[in-house]
Symmetry: C2
Subunit: 87 residues, 2 copies
Amino acid sequence: MYVILVYDIKEKRVAKMLKHCRKYLNWIQNSVFEGEITEVKLKELVAGARKFMDEEEDSVIIFKNRDQKWLDKQVVGVERMGTDNFL
Amino acid sequence: MYVILVYDIKEKRVAKMLKHCRKYLNWIQNSVFEGEITEVKLKELVAGARKFMDEEEDSVIIFKNRDQKWLDKQVVGVERMGTDNFL
């Protein structure tokens, strides 16, 4: 399964969330990740995130697609993919 | 066509980008939009955004899907959809 994950997290928890998501997906922009993941691994990702999220304040949205070939991606401006190596 | 649009824009241009994107798509999270849009309208959105973006600093990623039914959306934590009415 191909997913896009976006989060909106209070600043004090951002570093933790970033580190957590990068174990499972590719970081492509500030608070945006994408990648192939199994249903089991995605559950693990969400359960792990819930442990430190404040669900009254923070938000994570996951868009799931059965097949990546149905998605086409257009990037305008800076491509952030390269920054993945810097953290 | 169903799209997800995410942006990472320097703060001084964020308000402008938000206002611009909301003319075309639904605002669902901090810097995330989704919705049905035609190819022509999407080109208009991108051309409009390019007028005030700094393409050395700012980034917009658009994920395109032919058919929304292939996408499944999971929200963890706060649902921000309601905030759309406040601005």
